[in-house]
Subunit: 139 residues, 2 copies
Amino acid sequence: MTEKHKDLDQTLRQAKLRPTRQRKALAELLFSKGDRHVSAETLFDEAREAGVTVSLATIYNTLHQFTENGLLRAISVDSSKTYFDTNTGNHHHFYIEDRNEVMDMPDGFVKVENLPSPPEGMEVCSVDVVVRIREQKRR
Amino acid sequence: MTEKHKDLDQTLRQAKLRPTRQRKALAELLFSKGDRHVSAETLFDEAREAGVTVSLATIYNTLHQFTENGLLRAISVDSSKTYFDTNTGNHHHFYIEDRNEVMDMPDGFVKVENLPSPPEGMEVCSVDVVVRIREQKRR
DNA sequence: ATTTGTGCAAATCGTTTGCATCTGA
DNA sequence: TCAGATGCAAACGATTTGCACAAAT
């Protein structure tokens, strides 16, 4: 067993998930090439291309389990598909409207100020900023 | 014909939409009681309760036409349903997670600073801030 | 041996579409 | 009159679910 595989096993165990063949394969696709944004469908295609056999149902299960266990973060930019971000840190997004694509914003300095406090008895889960962008119209 | 109806006709004409029975009824539901957030389904139910006969297809058509013509604004807070806001001005939202409910944030002072500029050749359509909130866990 | 995960196909949910019919200008 | 609007039911795309079978501890 390679080093890489040991790491993946670790990651999965830490997330209290059994390191099954499918989960290891998906974890590798997701976490071994920097920050990524996937949808169930794109990950499914990618898995197929990589020769990994997984069902779409398992892709959905896995994405949700990874999200619940802090390995992924879900983002809603568009009301039709859910995207998952491998960067779970505090940061915001660009959303390219015509291309249905999510991009991380180089973070560390975006600041949201003067937020009104939430209604009585409510607490803040997260503050999400989405900057919708499109190809510049020629003038 | 009442004053109110004349106003609605005006609004619709300005939006280059024929003031049909359905559109007038929906416009009245939407615009005669302050700022509101509806989904196709909630508006549909509301219309039924008000004794207005409209099909769900027409609800969807109308919501989209109103949006394209600046009478409504679409918001994506949750990746499953689309919500429409009768407040088309520049403002942001609270989203109550457990209740699937959108609330306007009292605006005028929320500031987003230090936004990185969009990638070359892209322009900003909008900057949307969503603060996700939930009932405070008792301690 | 027991618990947990997987795959398939059917089911669900929000939304869209095609098309025949109706309505407002 | 006739472009534009409406309603219905069927079609859709993303996601979920039920359940029998397989794999991990």
